[in-house]
Each structure stands twice: as structure tokens, then as C-alpha cells.
Amino acid sequence: MDDERLLRAIVENEPGAFEEFVRRYGRRLMAFSVRTCNNVENAEDVFQDTLLKAYLALASLREPRALRTWLYRVAANNCRMMRRRERARQISLDDYKPPGWEDGEVIEVADWSDLPDDAAGRAELRQAFEEGLRELPAEYRMVVLMRDVEGLSTRETAEALDIGESAVKMRLHRARMALRQHLSEHHERVEGAEVPA
């Protein structure tokens, strides 16, 4: 069933329409809410509210192709409402310059891009990634989640967050640099722990 058919089933209140809607988008919206809110209880509220609001308002959606973008827009707005008291924080690329690069010094940068083969190593790295994600300012985190995790395009992400495409690109890049830095620090800790005393 494609989104157009799903929308028709919802509008016509067909049996099983809600189940199909949840099967298709539920887990992804829950994951997005948990990662965006940084708090499971808040995320549950955001997820329930998004699911309910979206399902009830779907009949008014004119463009079925925009369904996915629209759902993330509803979820992002709910998350923002939940976090509106937090102070916005900006990420500066100056924090991620390789040491000594501008001075023309020769300083080696660790290349940890060969990801671990074993399940335990991969799980640990994934955990480190999730930690890095939690440390990002919310507006940057939402861009990474939409673009890299959920696979929305730059234009869809801009529409969902009601910002310009250049802002999406800028936030995505800075967020990735911050995540890369977090993973590098994780790598240093792991490598340091493996060196015998």
C-alpha cells in the first residue's frame, strides 16, 4: 500500500488503516521523538501527540507525496514545544579544526574509520554515537536525524523544520563534525584503555 492509498484508507475510515499507518511510520516516529527529546518520558508524550494529531489531521493533507515530510514536521513542532524553555546553543566549526593545521604543523589525526568487526565493538561505537547525538543542541540534532537517520532530502528537511535549505546544510555539517569529534574522543579512550600499563 503506498502513501496515497494509505491516506484514502484513513479518510474513508477503512478497517486496519490505523494499524497500517502505525506499521509504516510508528517506530520511526518513536525513534525520532526519543532521540530528539533526550528524555524517554517527554518522548512518549511527543510520540503519542504526534501520532494522534497526525492521524486526525491526515484527511486535510492535500499532497500524499508530502506525507513523510509532514509527519516529521508535526513531530519536530511537538519536540520544540517540549523544549521551548531551553536556550539555543550554536556549534562553531572553529572547535573542530585539526590541531596545528592553520600553523602548518605536522600533527597526525587518528583514522578510526575501519569500523569494528565484532558485535560488541559495533554496539559500543553505536552507543558512543547515540551519546554524541544527545549532546548536540536540539536544532542540530533534528537535522541529523531527519537527513542522515530518516533519509529525508535537504528540501524535505527544510520544509519540515521551516528553515532554509542553506541552514539545513550548515547545521547538518556542523552536527556531523561535532559527532565525528565525539567519536574520535571515544576512539582515544578505547585505544588508551587497550594500551598495557
Binding site: 490505523f18 510520540f47 503519542q48 486526525l56 600533527i107 597526525e108 554515537f129 547515540e130 542522515d148 537517520v149
Partner: protein
């Protein structure tokens, strides 16, 4: 990094190059940067260990992000409970 990467460049030129590369590294890694930029970077930074390590680890970071598309399994029970709450609220309407 070979010592000659920055040879002949003033501090201002090095800073400009560094800032431009940092700003466009995502585009470079994803092959969406303009061709002339890529060509210039490859000419100027070929064999530069920090640059290559940065590119490789940024690409690995993006790959990790793209691989984490499901909520942690520990949330399954909460997820089912949330869906049930919404289903009941819809039925009550």
C-alpha cells in the same frame, strides 16, 4: 602530512584554505562539492594525513548515522503502550 603541503603559503592563505575545507568537508565527502573545489583540494592536500583521516572519519560518522534507523529495543514495550493509548483515544472519539 608531508611538510610541503603548506609550502609557500602565507598564514592567511593557510587559514583561508583550512576554513574553506572545513566548511565544505561534508559536501566533499559526499561528492556533492563543486568540481573545481574538489580538484583544488586534491591538488593542494594530496597525501595530507590529517585531511585524509578527517575525510575517512567523517564518512564513517555519516555511515553510523545512516545505520541507526530503529529505536533501541529496550523501548519496544513503551512503544507498544504508546500506540495502545493512541488507539484507545481514537476509538473514544
Amino acid at each position: 602530512m608531508p611538510n610541503d603541503v603548506f609550502e609557500g603559503m602565507s598564514r592567511a592563505e593557510r587559514e583561508r584554505l583550512c576554513a574553506e575545507v572545513l566548511e565544505r568537508l561534508s559536501d566533499y565527502v559526499e561528492a556533492t562539492a563543486p568540481e573545481d573545489f574538489c580538484r583544488r583540494v586534491e591538488q593542494q592536500l594530496a597525501g595530507c594525513q590529517p585531511f585524509e583521516a578527517y575525510c575517512n572519519t567523517l564518512a564513517a560518522t555519516i555511515a553510523l548515522a545512516r545505520a541507526c534507523d530503529e529505536p533501541p529495543e529496550a523501548l519496544n514495550e513503551r512503544y507498544e503502550r504508546c500506540v495502545e493509548v493512541v488507539r484507545r483515544r481514537l476509538e473514544e472519539r
